[in-house]
Amino acid sequence: MTDHRRPKGSFCGRTRREFVWQTGMGFTSLGLIDLLSRDGFFSGSARADGDAPGGYSNPMAPKAPHFEPKAKSVIFLFMYGGPSHVDTFDYKPDLLRYDGQTIAVKTKGRGGSKNEGRIVGPKWPFQQHGESGQWVSSLFPHLARHVDDIAFIKSMTADSPLHGSAMLQMNSGRILSGSPCLGSWVTYGLGSENEDLPGFVVMLDPVGGPISGAKNWSSGYMPSTYQGTILRSQGEPIIDLSPPEGVSDAMQRRLIDTLNDYNADHLADRADQSDLAARISSFELAYKMQMAAPEATAIDGEPEETKRLYGLDDPKTENFGRRCLLARRLVERGVRFVQIYAGGAHNDDNWDAHTDIEKNHNYHCGRTDKPIAGLLEDLKRRGLLDSTLIVWGGEFGRQPTAEYEKGTGRDHNSFGFTMWMAGGGVKGGVSVGETDELGSAAVVDRFHVKHLHATILTQLGLDPDRLSFFYGGLDQKLVGVEGAEPIRQLI
């Protein structure tokens, strides 16, 4: 029996940790816990839970990063549908010059590939802002005041100009369905700082979820531990968080205590089975979550000034502002990865401005500009911006040309678009990469979604080339088997 190719110093050809995932065992099995402890798997999770017999460790317990991190948490502001870069941050004076003219320009969107089109000039004036002189259109008057904290990537590219696959790529790195999402990778790599709250939280727009729904926060081939949990900004924050009507806290406590008594008897004969102990602990954790989640989401107690900062006093900005404020409260409490969707469902319910760019973007920018500015300001004054990485963008951008014969609607564009980051150790007041003079495609310092992902992981102290999960015969990585560089100009 030959075993000659197996790399030395690993456990069946991979790390012990991956081995445990691969075999799909309840990874709390005693022997494995022991094995893993010796392997340093649980280092960084020194937290001993008094309620947990048998050495149970929560899979979401914090894990040591690969190197000293800049950021501890991520808030990903997902502008679903694809905001237009040429109307927001990527200033292209030539577009004004050609406005209304049909010229040669290569585009590819839902309407297919075209070689020419009618230019639609930006519908909002651009101005330079801040000491760094970043260009921002009048769509983002509040945000414009924060450009010195923002790093723009104006040369983003993605592989698909169609929502379904592009959403999957922005969230999971691949245009095909089935891979774990960014938030899953991050919590797989780092766990979460607060075990009483989910580590990967998704807040949807009230109009609906994004295309492909739960695929956008799925843990794919990883354990379900790492899938995103939907957090609702109103009503019960987490599904099934509170007992049904008629079951008081005292009753529930009594029920759990009785359950613990039966389970303790059952465990007594099986003291070495740490899976059983783990499940006993999980009820205590759930009970604590029932306390912690409402506390974390109770924003009514925030000062009025803070509420106004996020635009909670204006019906237009109230909903997105509420979710931004919630995001701050979550990262404050150690939640690792928060994703907020601006826009949901289809067409103009999100940034997908096919028919009228003005109407669409006035609406979506109007809902989000002040809350995002408020979030940046609030994080900064609380000293949280340094440890919180903010990511803004959609699954792609939009074309410089009109989609139809009439009107200002723009089709999708994955050849070039803008995203930005702030906080979390990212340089402020910088802009990297360029699109061509029309904004139709990235030409200078082009970056791909995988570079964005690599940058996020790097800021969190994870090496994008090393963060891997063994599945299907491969060391799968968020950034692809080839690995990817972070965008060094920003960090």
């Binding site: 029996m1 030959t2 075993d3 190719r5 069946c12 050809g13 991979r14 691969q22 065992m25 309840g26 022997g31 022991d34 094995l35 839902r110 698909s160 100009p161 696959s165 245009i175 095909l176 369905s177 089935g178 609906g208 979820g209 994004p210 729904g213 739960a214 695929k215 794919g220 354990p223 379900s224 939907i230 599904i239 099934d240 968080l241 007992p243 079951v247 009594r254 029920l255 009785t258 359950l259 039966y262 389970n263 008897d265 059952h266 465990l267 099986r270 899976d275 059983l276 783990a278 499940r279 009820f283 759930a286 979550m289 030409v443 200078v444 310092d445 791909h448 299907g472 015969g473 690995g483």
Partner: protein
Amino acid sequence: MKRIGLPLVLASLLSAGAVPARAQDPGGPDANAGQADFFVESVRPILERSCFRCHGGAGKTRGGLDLTTRAGVLKGGDLGPAIDVEEPSASLLLEAIRYEGLEMPPTGKLDQADLDILTRWVELGAPYDEEHSSPAPAPEEDDEAISEEDRQFWSFQPVRRPEVPSVHRQDWVRDPIDAFILRGLEEAGLEPAPEASRETLIRRLSSDLLGLPPTPEEVEAFVENDSPLAYEELVDRLLSSPHYGERWGRHWLDVVRFAETNSFERDNDKPAAWRYRDYVIESFNEDKPYDRFVREQLAGDELEDASAESIIATGFYRLGAWDDEPTDRLQARFDELDDIITTTAQAFLGLTINCARCHDHKIDPIPQRDYYRFLAFVANLKPYSYDPSHILTEIASDEERAEHDRLQQDRERREAEINAALAPIEARLLESVPEPRRSMLKEGTFEQRRHVLDGIAERDLSPEELSSYRELIRQWQEIPPVPPLPTALSAREPGPEAPETFVLIRGSAHAPGDPVSPGFPEVLGAPDPVFETPTEGAASSGRRRALADWIASEENPLTARVMVNRVWHYHFGRGIVRTPNDFGFQGAMPTHPELLDWLAAEFMAGGWRLKPLHKRIVMSSTYRMSSKGNPEALADDPTNDLLWRFDLRRLSAEEIRDAMLAVTGVLNPKMGGPGFYSRIPKAYLAGQSRPGAGWGDSPAEERARRSVYIHVKRSLVTPILASFDAADTDFSCPVRFATTQPTQALSTLNGELLHEQAAALADRVRQEAGPESDDRVRRALALVLCREPTADEVARGVGFMEALRSEDGVEPDRAFELFCLMALNLNEFIYID
């Protein structure tokens, strides 16, 4: 960065006119000093600026390419040498920097001056300065050659039946399996765990074979049956239950990543995918030989005795995710084929051939060529499509077709009769319709005439005439529609001629390399299949049949091993090889290699039948061991690799739901047919871009069916199944996770489903156990735990209800419901000893 004019060195080289005379290796160590200067002054700055970061500098060699030395350039990366010394203009490096296929550097195309310099440099044979100009590496003998050592890897060896080992404790050996296990234990000085109790055994068997708990009555009967045949009779009874196929069919559905929708934006239904699910369940229930099961799924349409059943089996090819608006159609076609061969190779062969799509497999001896040779077997499949002719095959039996014809004739006859009776009336009515509409209507359909003539009839006909007119129309409308002939989601090929298959460079559909013909992985040493000239008009190429025959052959070293290992894995919670989809170098080594081979040999000798294999395994002493720990063994073998005890196991997601429905008494045992929609709370539907889209309402009795019949929608998984680690549907799932998370506890404490089931359990027990609290508690626990509860356990439950009453003012009935909720949350319910 723009340059004005060419640097001096380059200019002088260009002005030299003809390319220097071709030496053996023009840019090699003997390259002249001018060339070295050219490299240092003009080329290296470009490489440093734009290439080294990923290719050689800072320890990174992406794609295996190191550009910092000449040897690295000549050796090249995953795609081969970066420059072609013989034909420089065809160099990969030039293709890449010109953005022809590859696009390097990826951050943006070099400007023209840089391109010119690098082009010239490549034409010169890529000279380096002396320091970095080590001689070209001697070409390796044959890069793709598979070594003798590779061929000797354990899983590539033919299955040989090992001798059954002799052991000391012969009394423990009920089956040769036990001898293999016991020998390992004796060598390690460990004792096998004692036999589990009868209650434990019936619960273990019932869950394992049926996925359902035994009833208290079944437990009692078994415990009290002291016949020496009691255990065997129980095993036989369970193996012949139709629930067996539902349980074991579900395992296979995991492996083939069964789902009934396409994923992506629309996530539309796959037509009649449930037929494949039923096919799998029925195949297990009828104990279809596994080699036949393989042949039907891979080539059911190409078999001599193809039938509706075997055509349904080829639905195997249509189960994957499918993007109906791919951004790159050609690439998407190869993604589809990749998904198919990835699943095929992992499911049937335990080979991760998928790793060789872009380059040679990094670990296993599978060259990239093997991947495309394997792909060639399925390359003639029509792509998945909304077009029924691509994916559907009519599967009517002769009787069904005769019946269909009869109904069709009936219908036509009835229509003719009514038309005849209507004709005179219609003729009159038509008179008031002007030409040309009149003529058009005469030729038109029944419905078109109604549209125009009904109004005229109302106006022109007498009441009697009108009523007989209407009566005829009513009769017409009541003629029953003829149901369409049944179709199956299936493999379809356009004809016998398969397209040529090429190695795709770096896996890119746009970069075809050498052509290949269908062939098996070289390391396994099987001769290439020989295809007869396809008969004119044949429906398919016969290639899948060749693949199926090779996989389902006794000579194939992997097929039987992989399947018996899966069976072992599901019985014991882990395989003899712990990586059931990977029997390659990176997979786990077998803990009991001889046992695996012995089982594989027995399996094939017994006609590839699963039920005798199950029976042998569950009859063994090994299977009957208790799950209890003992300190000595825990210290020596904490992970139980030697199998000194039975491993405790958490119920799977489906089992948790099914066991709950069974103990609460609402389980609907209806088998087969279209799936049902479970009730999914609105809060989950809110995550969809069209909340509720693609999900229906099923009546309560349908919703009480087993979980294997829940409609499998890729983007909307029933919450309790998702929470308890149901199989991912986009990739083959060889091993289920068994996670423990607080959100599971939230759903089982607070969720709608659990409260509904707790109420159902309370109702059932109230009817069965009378009015006394202790009787009710006893009965509820007996149902949930499959054993008689102790007096203390009963007293604790009664005490809980008392406290709810006295302390929290809860009504007795509600208190009992909460007790039932507690009972359904017990560890003992969720875990099997």
